[in-house]
Structures are given as structure tokens and as C-alpha cells.
Symmetry: C2
Subunit: 250 residues, 2 copies
């Protein structure tokens, strides 16, 4: 499989030039599988403000917004994956969310960004002033409506996370994570996940330790539910994965 996008929605919506993948060093030469880091539910939130800011690039693991930085702007991910991170005084770390192309991060801040924003992969992004968002929302009813829908979707996702962190076991958290990432990475067709984040990020996202994440993946593998090869996860039994997630009463 070549380094192309399974579908062109992100590029179309964002007006992204076709050479971005190469420019980011994500693609490169040779037959490399590229993760389709696109959120279908969130694409195009900021289409209308596209001309207002230039795309910037940040290498892997670099900080884009510092924790507790003054919040006068937020950012939209154009390509790649970012994480939001809060660090406690004693070094404990919580990953708030992983965000992909099309996602907007930090727009809900007031005063300060309570979470840092860091690049998981090499990332292309554009800066958006909070005042600009407010202004657009005030003058463009359609944009305001999309922003509301986006906020509501993020809140629903946050509520799901509360259940995962508050009440699920390690295995269930990991199964839940894989299920969610499968959806967010649009791996519906082949069920092969190229996870952009490492075990440490996953652990801090799920409120676990690296070791527990490893053991959980091993357990799921030994049950024949997934295959694991570093960042490449193959979901071999989707229904068993869903069962392992222990979903809410329906």
C-alpha cells in the first residue's frame, strides 16, 4: 500500500496541499502504510477561517502549547496526532486526549491552558485566536452551530472517558481504547491499527502504568483477539474486543 490517503476528505476540507505528508516526514519513500488520521465527525470545523493562519510544523514529542500558558489562542490539527497532557507536581501524568487531523484543541480554555499540547507524531497545525473563534461564532450562525455540535461531541466523549477511568478494569480500558482508536483512525476496513502513540502515552491516557498496558495487550493477544507488533495492532476478533470492553447497559 502506498503512502496515500484512503479517502480525500481531510485534504479537500482543509485545503491542504498534496505534498504535506512528504513535507512532514510522515510518508517518505517506499511502500509505507500511512495511518489515516482523520476524524470524520470533526472534519471541517474551522474550514471557514482557513485563510487566516498559516500551517506550522512541529517535530515528534515537541511541545506546542505549554501547560498553564496564557490562553489567547488554540490550534487546529492539520496532519498528524497531538496529545493534551497535564503534569502533577510529583511527576504523575494524565493524557487528556489524543487529537487528529481536523480536531481543534484548547478552544475551551479560559485564561490559561490547563493542559499542555504536545506532538505525538510530526504534526502540521495552524494557530487560531480564541477571539477569532468568538468573532466567527458571533457573526456566522452556521459556524456557531458546528462549534456547538463539536463541543457536544467532545463532551459526550469525555463522559465515556469518565466511565472508563472510574469503573473499568485494566483489560476493559485497553479494549475500550483499541475500539475507540479503530474508529478514530478509520481502520474499519482492514482492522489494522498503526497507533501513533507509544505505550507510555496509552498508559497515561488510561490511568494505568506502561507495564499494565503491556500485560493487557499480551492478554488480549493470548486470547486471540488481537495481534501485537509494537505500534501495529491487528484486531482479529472485533466482537470479542467489544465484549472485553464491557459496554454500558443498553
Amino acid at each position: 500500500m502506498l503512502a496515500t490517503y484512503p479517502n480525500s476528505s481531510a485534504a479537500d476540507v482543509l485545503g491542504r496541499p498534496p505534498d504535506y505528508a512528504g513535507a512532514l516526514g510522515i510518508g517518505g519513500a517506499g511502500p509505507v502504510v500511512i495511518s489515516p488520521l482523520v476524524r470524520p465527525d470533526r472534519k471541517g470545523l474551522l474550514d471557514t477561517m482557513l485563510p487566516s493562519s498559516a500551517v506550522q510544523r512541529t517535530p515528534r514529542d515537541a511541545e506546542i502549547i505549554a501547560q498553564d500558558a496564557t490562553a489567547d489562542c488554540c490550534l487546529q490539527v492539520v496532519e498528524g496526532c497531538v496529545r493534551t497532557v497535564r503534569l502533577l507536581a510529583d511527576g504523575r501524568r494524565q493524557v487528556g486526549d489524543f487529537l487528529f487531523a481536523g480536531d481543534v484543541v484548547g478552544w475551551e480554555a479560559e485564561g490559561r491552558h490547563e493542559f499542555a499540547v504536545e506532538a505525538v507524531t510530526a504534526v502540521a497545525w495552524r494557530r487560531v485566536k480564541l477571539a477569532t473563534i468568538e468573532s466567527w461564532a458571533a457573526h456566522d450562525a452556521a459556524f456557531a452551530r458546528r462549534l456547538r455540535a463539536y463541543a457536544a461531541a467532545q463532551m459526550r466523549q469525555g463522559h465515556d472517558r469518565l466511565v472508563v477511568l472510574g469503573r473499568k478494569t485494566a483489560i476493559e480500558r485497553i479494549a475500550s481504547f483499541l475500539k475507540d482508536m479503530k474508529q478514530r483512525l478509520r481502520a474499519a476496513d482492514h482492522a489494522v491499527l498503526e497507533l501513533p502513540m507509544n505505550r507510555c502515552d496509552i498508559a497515561d491516557y488510561l490511568g494505568l502504568t506502561v507495564e499494565t498496558v503491556c500485560r493487557g495487550l499480551t492478554e488480549l493477544r493470548s486470547q486471540g483477539i488481537i495481534s501485537v507488533d509494537r505500534c501495529r495492532i491487528v484486531i482479529r476478533d472485533q466482537s470479542a474486543l467489544i465484549a472485553a470492553d464491557s459496554s454500558p447497559l443498553h
Copy 2:
């Protein structure tokens, strides 16, 4: 202290008639301290739609919105305290949030309410159609702006919860809860909390068991940080409580 409101903002903003406390059975005769269940940051969100729906009353512990109910409307709390609850198939329970007078709950739903809404105390509330909110937001820019601000505040609070559930110890969760409740119940002056919810609700809110919540409260009491008498918590050492919460790096 008589059964009066420490300040009149809720009644003023919501246009609530003066006899509500009595009608709800919350006040009653005698020198009872009434918890001022008002969120200063959230009051008045739905002022403008006040005339559109009548206030309804629900007794303690009754369900107002069922889990997975079709989401055509949400509700605003007029008086009392409600909780959002998600039940897993095996009986595990997660309390999403506690909401007080002025708060709007369920507006972020799409399709179905993924959390049930239940009365913690006797509650007065009014039903609001989601379509009405959308319509108001579309036609009233000021309301839309308040709704955005409200959503952003809820999201920030949700992010804080992620850290609490993902990375904090039992004691820290409990200290964090008390600190938060002190703020939300407006107990700043006397530092006496009349918690409307029982230990089970607190446990399911914090991702702990009832026993662990009890032991945590006992521990904080034995350190002289609080006094505990059933639902009445007195914060004796605010700074020690904050220290026990282990706040983020600043």
C-alpha cells in the same frame, strides 16, 4: 440560622417564587441550615427561555431522565441537586456529575441520553426541548455566547475529573471532591458543607467504593483537616485540604 438563602441570586435570576423551598420540602419548620445549591458560574444560562416551560418537581432518588432515553429534551435544575448516572451491564455505576440550581443537564446529548438523570434531593426543574435551545442559540447571539461559555466551563471541569479519576489516590480524590463541593455549594464563608449526596453517590462519582470513601473521610478527620457528621462536613484546615488534593504543577 433560618431556612433562608444566603444570597438571592438564584431566585432573582430564575424568577423563582419565594415559596419554592417550602413546596419542595427542603426547608420546613425550625432552624435548619439550607445548602445554597447555586452555581455562581452557571446561573442564568436559560433565563431567556423562562416562560416557555413550567417547573416540575421530583422526589428524592427518583429518575428524571432514563439512561438511553431518546434525547429530544434536556432540563434545567431550578432547586435541589441531581446526578447523572451510567450503569454498566454488571451493575457497576459511574456518577457523571452532580448538578445544582441553574445548571442545565443533558443538552449535549445526540440521539440518546447516555447518562440517566436522577434526583439526589427533592428537585424542582424545568424541561427544555433541545430544538428550542438550538433555535434560541441560532437567533440570540448573546444566548449562544453564554451557551458556549457554559459548554467550555463544563469541558474544563470534565478535564479536571479525568485527572482525578486517572491519576489520584483515594485520599486525593476525596480531598479534591470536598474542595470542589465547597466551591460549588458556596460554603466559602462558614466552610460547613451540607452534602446533599450519600456516600454511595460520592464513591461512584470518584470511582471508589463506599468503604474507601469512609476510610478517606476518617483519615482526613484524624488529621484534623475536617470534621464529619454524616452529611455535614466542616472544613477545619482549608490549606491542608488543598495540600491533600495534590494539585497540578503550576
